[in-house]
């Protein structure tokens, strides 16, 4: 059966499916589409248990209350010729149904408190990662006390064509990024969460981590993941136009694999440093610029520079005008608009490449080269 046909079947069975699947799949664990997932951390399992306990308590009380109500609806109806009773108070009953719920709440508060304290135990981490929310992407920075920090941005990878229904949607539609966060399994990873512009919220359900990313403040949270794998999440706090398009992908790997990955990242960072001093040909800049553009500019300015959320770059007076002004716009952004300051987000090599690309692609035939040193000098002022 095709995807569409399956959906139609499910939808017609909708209400039945809703009730039965809720009961059958409630205990179904990670793949459940109707219930919380216990996830892959101890905290996640504790939260899941709390969730199930409180859901159970509510269900039992609900069945009791609705049971009494439906009994009345069926047996105490006027059409059965009953005469209404006249009682309207009972101190004993009223005290009982005040005190009993209170006691249930106290019982419930005990495990809730201990899980909360566990969530707040941010000490003794094996690895610190600074997570910064940007409109609309995440930046991850591995804090290394003995050398260079490794940092990169993680952008939505889903093609615009999929979003606008021009291409078939992939399996991980809207939940895929160009560069996932990589962390080691069975290690306590502390996330220091902040934001660059507005408030975002870093949420990965399987890790049972949700923390608001607030500009100017750093929040702490942590996870010790017990199982390797790829876990996906999204920004949870409304952060502007593309709030729905800044997913999170966490790749949890063995320690050895992690070390190797981090080592390569460190090498890459060193290589970029070397590149800063080089001069590039126009072709090299254009090739690099094209990929930088696809990652950072395309979502707002369009695959062919035709514009969208942002202004068109094809034929734009900025991209075909004075280079210094063009650099200003890309490096410092345009305050009060969606155009961000990319000066802190792109290294000088990528910045030079993307500027060159914008000036010579999409029919903007400027043909001038921007070198990393030009960007460096411009930033220095």
């Amino acid at each position: 059966m095709s995807f569409q046909a399956k959906r139609l079947c499910k939808l017609t069975l909708g209400p039945v499916l809703m009730l039965t699947s809720a009961l059958v799949l409630a205990a179904g664990g990670e793949t459940s589409q109707v219930n919380m997932s216990p996830g892959v951390t101890e905290v996640g399992k504790n939260i899941y248990d709390l969730h199930m306990i409180i859901l159970g308590i509510c269900t039992v009380i609900g069945l009791g209350v609705f049971g009494v109500m439906f009994y009345s609806i069926i047996y105490h109806r006027k059409s059965r010729g009953v005469a209404p009773a006249t009682f309207h108070e009972s101190t004993a009953v009223e005290i009982a149904w005040t005190v009993v719920p209170f006691l249930i709440l106290i019982l419930m508060a005990v495990p809730a408190t201990s899980t909360l304290l566990q969530i707040y135990d941010n000490d003794d981490a094996d690895l610190d990662i600074l997570v910064t929310g940007y409109q609309w992407k995440w930046k991850y920075e591995y804090i290394n006390e003995n050398g260079e920090n490794v940092s990169f941005f993680s952008n939505l990878k889903t093609a615009q064509g999929e979003i606008h229904n021009l291409e078939a949607k992939g399996e991980h539609y809207l939940l895929e990024v160009d560069e996932p966060l990589v962390i080691p399994v069975d290690k306590k990873v502390r996330f220091l969460v902040t934001a660059n512009d507005v408030i975002h919220s870093w949420w990965v359900p399987a890790l049972a981590v949700k923390k608001d990313a607030i500009p100017g403040f750093i929040n702490e949270t942590w996870a010790r993941v017990e199982q390797t794998g790829v876990y996906r999440g999204q920004c949870a706090e409304l952060c502007g136009t593309n709030h729905g398009f800044m997913p999170i992908v966490v790749n949890v790997v063995d320690q050895s694999e992690f070390d190797q990955w981090l080592g390569e990242k460190e090498k890459d960072a060193a290589a970029v440093k070397k590149l800063m001093a080089q001069n590039f040909t126009l072709d090299e800049l254009m090739a690099r610029g094209k990929s930088v553009y696809a990652r950072n500019c395309q979502a707002c300015h369009g695959a062919n520079g035709e514009g969208g959320v942002g202004k068109a770059i094809a034929g734009s007076p900025i991209a075909t005008g004075d280079l210094a002004t063009h650099m200003d716009v890309v490096i410092h952004g345009v305050p009060g608009t969606a155009m961000q300051a990319f000066g802190g987000q792109l290294n000088d090599v990528d910045m030079a490449a993307v500027l060159t690309y914008q000036r010579s692609a999409f029919g903007n035939n400027m043909g001038d080269k921007v070198q990393p040193i030009d960007v460096f000098n411009h930033k220095k002022g």
């Binding site: 006249t86 979003i163 229904n165």
Partner: protein
């Protein structure tokens, strides 16, 4: 029939200059229904876009404007004014007063509303679009990063607050000073009690909201940094101030609904309300607790653990008085002689669905679990169960209950029941699946979603369209009743209804009690 010294004026001036509580109540009710349709049509845009994965109808920026305006219009334009309308109609009739205590202010508090919503709606056509930062308008998205129309939004909020405060002062003054002889506080109908407490909540928190938007205004135009860390301020301060208003606000919306249900259920159970005194105390406790639980909306902002614990415990406590209310309603039905006319159906619908919303509220109170629920569709489902099935269902119950008294004509019962069943089914189809997608990890306020959420979202959209369409039936039924309903001659309309309002002639005369009734 009473001796009219002066009846209503003719034409438009009757409505513009009226100081009559019934005319003003009528205008509030029609206005709020218009806003309900406007806010509802924004919801239809949202649900149409979310019908399938992918962007189809609107762009993400417009989608955000829709979610923002839907929330603002529904809360401030539909639900709040509708209960003020009900209060205007009923409080003088229920306490044996001739009119509201401050009739000219009453006129003013209504008439500043329509222009304000005109301003708010006009932001849709401004450069940069309407506010797109959600009805909770968290800074700095609503300050540094807001569209220019935010200034008009701030102005609207100020005027809405002014209207609410004037309306509340009027209700407090009326209830305290204009009760008929013998109508002691503990004899007042529960609807009057819940509104009295609501009015105090409004007077207490609307100025706080005004403070929040004033600080925003200063940050945007006058260079202050209340909510900007770069200037020494704190974005989280905004959330504290907002929710200090916002949490009592949800009780402002639901308490009058409790009042309506407490009138309707005894009438159709033919049995007095169970636990009247405990109902009053429970309402007062809920109102008090509403001031000390605000930060449960903010469990993920990074509060100290002591703060989290305090707000978790305080929030869990609310379950106790709310439980008392639900138990009292059910016990009122117990061993009554029940009939199921439309108002009773809506009241029972309220009871079931509000209780479900209360349960999910208790779940949300568990702070560790809230780390998973927060800002997901689970929250959207929760507050629609308490706002729509709570406030709107009780409003429908109230309209069907009192409309025959007001206009002296009976609504069409079959159509009323049809309205109930379509609403009930549509509502549940729309919002029950949202619990599932929320628990499975779908964040709220997103214009597009991953494929695993597709089925439940389509179901939800279909349910929303059904629920929306059912309101047209409601509108038709109300208009048909007023224009051509079967005349009601009986003063009581409903054999089980109790209270001073039912002792007035039917239809209710233009001036209510010209000589105060004596309450034994």
């Amino acid at each position: 029939m009473g001796d009219y010294h002066h009846g209503p004026a003719k034409g438009l001036s009757r409505w513009l200059f009226t100081t009559n509580h019934k005319d003003i109540g009528t205008m509030y009710l029609w206005f709020s229904f218009a806003m309900f349709i406007l806010g509802g049509s924004f919801a239809m845009v949202i649900r149409a876009e979310l019908f399938e994965p992918g962007m189809q109808l609107v762009d993400p920026a417009f989608f955000n404007q829709m979610t923002t305006l839907h929330g603002l219009v529904m809360v401030f334009g539909a639900i709040m004014p509708s209960f003020v309308g009900l209060a205007n109609w009923l409080i003088p009739m229920m306490i044996g007063a001739p009119d509201m205590a401050l009739p000219r202010m009453n006129n003013w508090s209504f008439w500043i509303l329509p222009p304000t919503f005109l301003v708010l709606a006009s932001t849709l056509f401004m450069e940069g679009g309407a506010p797109a930062f959600g009805w909770t308008f968290y800074a700095p998205l609503s300050t540094t990063y807001a569209p220019p129309s935010v200034t008009f939004f701030i102005f609207s909020i100020h005027v809405l607050g002014l209207s609410s405060i004037m309306g509340s002062i009027n209700i407090i003054a009326t209830v305290m000073n204009m009760r008929a002889p013998g109508m002691t506080y503990m004899k007042m109908p529960l609807f009057v009690w819940t509104w009295l407490i609501t009015a105090f909540l409004l007077v207490a928190v609307m100025p706080v909201l005004a403070g929040a938007v004033t600080m925003m205004l200063m940050d945007i135009h006058f260079g202050t940094s209340f909510f900007s860390a770069a200037g020494g301020g704190d974005p989280v301060l905004f959330q504290h101030v907002f929710w200090f208003f916002g949490h009592p606000e949800v009780y402002i919306i639901i308490l009058p609904a409790f009042g309506v249900i407490s009138q309707v259920i005894p009438a159709f159970s033919r049995k007095p309300l169970f636990g009247y005194a405990s109902m009053v105390y429970a309402t007062a406790s809920i109102a008090f607790l509403s001031f000390i639980v605000w930060a449960h909306h903010m469990f993920t902002v990074g509060m100290p653990v002591a703060g989290e614990l305090f707000f978790m415990y305080a929030t869990m406590l609310i379950a106790v008085p709310t439980g008392v209310k639900v138990f009292n309603w059910v016990t009122t039905m117990w061993r009554g002689a029940l009939t199921f006319e439309t108002p009773m159906l809506f009241a029972i619908g309220f009871l079931i669905l509000f209780t479900i919303g209360g349960f999910t509220g208790l779940m949300l109170a568990i702070a560790p679990a809230d780390f998973q629920y927060h800002d997901s569709y689970f929250v959207v489902a929760h507050f629609h169960y308490v706002m729509v099935a709570g406030a709107v269902f009780s409003m429908s119950a109230g309209i069907y209950f009192w409309l025959p008294k007001w206009c002296g004509r009976m609504y069409n019962e079959a159509m009323g029941k049809t309205h109930f069943w379509i609403s009930f089914i549509g509502f549940n189809l729309a919002f029950f699946p949202q619990h599932f997608v929320g628990l499975a990890g779908m964040p709220r306020r997103i214009p597009d979603y991953a494929l695993q959420f597709a089925d439940f979202n389509m179901m939800s959209s279909i349910g929303a369209f059904i629920y929306g369409a059912s309101q047209i039936l409601f509108l038709y039924n109300v208009i048909a009743t007023i224009v051509a309903g079967k005349p009601v001659s009986d003063e009581k309309v409903w054999d089980g209804a109790e209270g001073l309002e039912w002792t007035l002639p039917t239809p209710a005369p233009y001036h209510t009690f010209e000589t105060p009734p004596l309450v034994k």
